[in-house]
Amino acid sequence: MKIVASFCIIAGIFFFFTGVIGILRFPDFFSRMHATGKGDTLGTVLVLTGVALYNLDGGCTVANVLVSIKLMLIGVFWVIANPTATHALLRAAFDSGLMPWIKHGEPVIDWPPRPGEEE
């Protein structure tokens, strides 16, 4: 059980590390959001799973099982909440007219989007 918990926590740390590399190195806001929105969610859920498994290692008493269930409920809440926050923030940036990555004097995608493709 301890080995599985350690593996989960190390995998979560790996996803956090890739998210940090993405947030530091990507060129504009939208691609930074791509890095953080996924790596952050999966890393947090993996660390929560690892801590819950490590907590169950001390014996399957009622208190330990309740704490582990509460940890997994925080994980379920985080899986729902973090993509929602990411989506709201991206929609806010899109509505406020933030420009995407500009390379050689022109945007790398069609900008502004043609009417009908928005929403």
């Binding site: 301890k2 350690s6 926590i9 190390i10 979560g12 740390i13 956090f16 590390f17 998210g19 940090v20 947030i23 530091l24 806001f29 930074r32 959001m33 953080t36 952050d40 890393g43 947090t44 660390v47 929560l48 801590v51 490590y54 907590n55 208190a63 704490v67 509460k70 940890l71 925080i74 809440f77 985080w78 909440a81 973090n82 929602t84 926050a85 709201a88 923030l89 929609r91 806010a92 940036a93 509505d95 406020s96 007219g97 933030l98």
Partner: protein, 88 residues
């Protein structure tokens, strides 16, 4: 096993310092918001590791629940506040 959790917590503190760069020097206000959200989610994981180190995980899990709600609601409120066009 305690040394393992201590090393993981220290490494996560290093990651918090690195992502705080985007929170302070971000070119737009949205970069600052995602930087601080990233710091918040790593602080949530670090809080649970500190709870394992202190052998009081039953207390720290409630603090982590309140903290996750706080990070989620603060990101939503900031994004609603900056949503109108020309806010940046």
């Amino acid at each position: 096993m305690e040394h393992f959790f201590l090393a993981i917590s220290l490494f996560m503190g290093l990651l918090i310092l690195l992502s705080l760069y985007r929170g302070i020097f971000g070119p737009t206000v949205f970069d600052r918001i995602i930087g601080m959200g990233f710091v918040g989610s790593k602080a949530l994981s670090m809080l649970l590791l500190i709870g394992v180190l202190y052998h009081r995980i039953d207390m720290f899990v409630d603090i982590a629940l309140a903290y996750s709600l706080l990070v989620f609601i603060s990101t939503l409120v900031f994004s609603k506040h900056f949503q109108k066009r020309g806010a940046i």
